[in-house]
Symmetry: C2
Subunit: 351 residues, 2 copies
Amino acid sequence: MSQPFASIDTPAVLIDLDRVEANLQRTQQHADAEGYKLRPHIKTHKLPRFALRQVELGAVGITVQKLGEAEVMADGGITNLLLPYNIIGERKLARLVALNARVTLAVTADSPDTVAGYAATFTADQPLTVLVECDTGAGRCGVQSPAQALALARQIDMAPGLSFGGLMTYPPKHDIAASNAWLSEAVNLIEQAGLPVPVVTSGNTPDMWSPAAAPVTERRPGTYIYFDRSQVASGVANLDDCALTVLATVVSRPNATRAVIDAGSKALTSDTLGMDGFGLIMGTDLTVTALSEEHGVINLPDASDWPRVGDRLRIIPNHACVVSNLYDSVNLVSGDDLVETVPVAARGRSD
Amino acid sequence: MSQPFASIDTPAVLIDLDRVEANLQRTQQHADAEGYKLRPHIKTHKLPRFALRQVELGAVGITVQKLGEAEVMADGGITNLLLPYNIIGERKLARLVALNARVTLAVTADSPDTVAGYAATFTADQPLTVLVECDTGAGRCGVQSPAQALALARQIDMAPGLSFGGLMTYPPKHDIAASNAWLSEAVNLIEQAGLPVPVVTSGNTPDMWSPAAAPVTERRPGTYIYFDRSQVASGVANLDDCALTVLATVVSRPNATRAVIDAGSKALTSDTLGMDGFGLIMGTDLTVTALSEEHGVINLPDASDWPRVGDRLRIIPNHACVVSNLYDSVNLVSGDDLVETVPVAARGRSD
């Protein structure tokens, strides 16, 4: 019996190159039409080749979430990186100096402590660009008010080795208007104080098709390269846009209504993102009902001979970004053909 | 300000060697006193050195969950392995033949299809030992009745290249007595049919301190080497037994009641195992309240200056096994001293 991708041992990640290219092009076209700069977040794919393609299509640069990811992407030929994170501690600051010497780099800060660390490390001959991170409602990092944003912008501007680069937010998913109002107030305050605000950068994929309202100049979507089940649920993509699937083998049919696959939480993660189940079986309405580390259980609604032991299924995961992070390599495919197996260069580089 | 483990970039895994040794010794002593064989599951640590130590202390061999893990452990010097999984497909069966030629190996089957694959692959000159996997209530893989166990044992026994090795179950956590009754009935049926049942092997850590009741001859706990927050909650360990922690740095203090660390779902996983929060801050009653991929949010019950930006915290995760699987290397420590940083040899070997 012929099985697709028979040369690949399961569980394994398949990346549909045609869907990737369509997702990248459509998003860049949206940015061009709406007049904002696109700075894709590579946390989703962690592959230098896709980052290079994003830049080739018109992205202003890329976004990385961790210093280790930035180093891998710089090694891969990316020359313009935003690292929207507070970089803390002597060892990381030393790595940051080395990185800043070889690429165009910007980081963020949300506290005087973080800025003080940057200020004590960088000098005017190779200054570091620092944006102020703003908590515009998401409740994670960020200064808590436009007045705090101004104070931090001033502290950055006064440090000889630092350059104030603008404002960054990871916005609340369901109140972009309030986030933009917050940012506008901060921009006004800072500009009234005589400081230009060259960049105002905001996430993220769930609001990617909305107009880019002022004062946002740049967006950092990530998941859009692959999309996933949660993005389909949020309405920004269709199932046919989903480019990342986990290939799994049915290893057990204990009874007529239960199938077990060789993909568990170490292959799909236990991220639910508020959804039922741990992934959708491609081409069906079935989900992975339960996970243990190396087993996924599929409860069938009716007694069925399908799927049989040995059948291969493709799972659209709830959350593509965390799945990429579990695999040393991914398989690039076109239709039912394996094109190439490539290492996930920035996998596990979260330090 | 001095910070412990300052030479380690965060997030990072710390393994307390003294606690590991105490956990290994105490568990082996329990097995010796209770008269069952211990076959530790290495899914938790994925390190050949700890597997070798488990065997040195008296374990009969080790348990692995995937073929890739078995290959790494064989490379690391382990000579007796149980792989309690249905191994399906030509490529994996070829790898299994190679592995069976160099170590003492047993696998499992729960269907005629799986046994047929083994039977068509192995020959009498290098036979494969196959145990029958039994679903004694956990609702995952396994034959559904003692009568099915007998039928599969017969199919194995009749194949020239296979040897019937006994019964295996992953038991339901809260009804070990029912599981043992199921197994006893199967053993009786199979023995009455003239087949010896050399091994009856059962998991797992949550019931590890209970007596090993007949007919179980062997147990396969895994998490006990490190324990974790969920095991403490289930009563089998104390917080002082937990050997694996995630070292994280406070990167943001947005306000008086919120701290953000650089460990998110890519450092701790989103496994809750039914608990509140995503890990316990060692030495406190605080938990990691919310995760995104590279951020962990800690909500403080009262306004507090502690922790400060730059402080390092150690997190006892909910589930140690899945955390090990995220890191290329772990840091072996004794007290506050770093002893050695070692690669997690079997990490990501889930195929």
